[in-house]
């Protein structure tokens, strides 16, 4: 190896190492926009895989069937009066397509970047759109901000943590070991400012004060498949005794050829 080459290689390694040290020590780095900083790529078409709660999701369940939902007595009283025809007539047919229920409605979602700070999630079921804004979306909302089926969603990346205190498997620090950096991460979304709707198609309610927290976790398989699990927690002291916690699953599709927008329906 020539002396010049040695010097170049050593310089690069030093620069690389010091840059990482700077970042870890909190020295100022120019902030990157959420789109550029995304630890996972959620964009694309995803189809919901309905292997759980099939008879409550694939068909409109019978009235009074509340299995699995920790609803309060107040919620049961509301749900007992469920009348889908009345909802339809009142233009309330999207009540079961609000954010706390939408990801469990069988269908496809299309995720794109609306801009550098905003993810857009279109759902063909009910032709709904969720807007996931990074950085202070809810701070900007005030009492006069209208409540909507999809509410206001504030997003935050949760990148994989390097060097957490629990050193369960320290990397081998030898010169011939390639650098190992934690990859991946999750998307956390908190949604408020909701218009009251249904957690389940048969009228199990959530109130406008419900707060939904989601964690979006991606799984890339060695065979190229991509799966998405959205852990969904809905808290609503009025209508839920404990948090509603489910985790619908999606599988990525190559394109939008099966995209099939359908309007909201109270009865189907």
């Amino acid at each position: 190896m020539s002396r010049a080459l040695v010097v170049v290689v050593a310089s690069m390694l030093i620069a690389f190492g010091f840059a990482r040290v700077d970042a870890q020590r909190g020295n100022p780095q120019p902030p990157r926009a959420p789109k550029a900083a995304a630890p996972i790529d959620l964009t694309g078409y995803w189809v919901s895989i309905v292997t759980q709660d099939w008879r409550w999701r694939m068909v409109t369940p019978r009235k009074g069937d509340y299995q699995g939902i920790p609803l309060t007595l107040a919620a049961a009283k509301v749900a007992d009066t469920w009348d889908p025809a009345k909802d339809e007539a009142a233009g309330q047919q999207c009540k079961s397509y609000g954010a706390p229920a939408l990801m469990s409605v069988p269908g496809r979602i299309h995720i794109t970047w609306q801009d550098d700070n905003t993810l857009k999630v279109d759902a063909d079921a009910g032709t709904q759109t969720r807007i996931l804004r990074f950085g202070g979306a809810q701070t900007a909302a005030n009492a006069s901000t209208p409540r909507t089926w999809q509410g206001i969603s504030e997003a935050q990346w949760l990148p994989a943590r390097p060097n957490v205190p629990l050193q369960l498997r320290p990397m081998e620090r030898t010169a011939d070991t390639p650098p190992i950096r934690p990859t991946g991460g999750s998307l956390q979304v908190v949604t408020k400012n909701l218009r009251a709707g249904y957690l389940r198609k048969n009228g199990v309610p959530y109130s406008e004060n419900a707060v939904m927290t989601e964690w979006w976790d991606l799984y890339k398989r060695p065979n190229g498949e991509e799966w998405l699990t959205i852990t969904t927690q809905v808290e609503d002291p009025l209508y839920l005794r404990t948090a509603r916690l489910v985790a619908p699953v999606f599988k990525k599709e190559a394109d939008g050829s099966k995209w099939d927008p359908t309007p909201c329906s109270s009865t189907w």
Binding site: V59, L166, T183
Partner: protein, 331 residues
Amino acid sequence: MSKPSLLAVLVVAALWAVPAYAQVDLTGTWQRVGQNDNGASREPVDLLGMPFSPDGRAKALSYDIAALSATERQCQMYPPIYAIVGPFPLQFTMVPDPVTQKLLAWKIAGWGDRDETVIWMDGRPHPSKNAPHTHGGFTTGAWEGDTLTAVTTHAKLGDIKRHRGFSSDRATMTYRFNRHGDTLTVTGLLEDPVYLAEPYALTEVYRLTTNPNNFPLTACEPIEELPTLHEDPTLVPHYLPGKHPAMNEVTEHYNIPLEAVVGGPETMYPEYRKKLKDKYVMPPPCKDGCGRPPAPGQGRGQGQGLNQQGEPPAGGRGAGPAAGRGAPPPK
């Protein structure tokens, strides 16, 4: 210091700044939230959304739960997917290497009817396909960011979703463990070239608890459950094709067409709803076992929070179907 030595020091110094793997502590007892129907169906033939192959469907429909009363099957355990569909908590412990104290494996404690799961984290390979199979199988794991991915092979044949279909001894179970605060989400993908046409995806959510109500692995001792099986040890309870007596129960209870009740990969995709739209009529309101909340002073309500309190389902293994375990064998 010589130049080569100096270079070596510089290289090591640079690499030292690289962070280690991300890792998350999973130690503790994770209480199943259980707000889905993973293991909660009441009808013996409920294969809704299960991506069975024709062989898998035939196997499921031939199964008579009374088979579990045969002496040689009484201590048969569930396959690995039972960690997700079963009613009990996940009790995680860390197994350190005795010399280095590095993480050697994670261990998920067994229950009375599920073998423990040891997730080897030291990079060891899976054994030969001809190696012995066990109820718990052989599992290896690796970190992908903050997510623990574990893969289980070498498990014995076993019934999944509590007596509604089987996975074969060629099945592979992949787990994804995602911890967010005190919430743990487990995503399971079961693949089986024998009984499944597509991967069977299930999830369950758990909460870290400081008040665990565990059900430790206990020894199983076969007893005489059905005298007829002991009088004729050659008898294996089963149903012949098309003869399952509970075949129509889901249709009778919920008006769901039989073609959906017997599962298949097409039933788990949204477009299957189009096939149902003209065939489905909403049944009369629910009257019994509807999950209503408890009235003040009247306990826990109907079938609510299936296992949120950490209690086993009524009757434990084999509970549920009216013609379940202990029913007379077929004539």
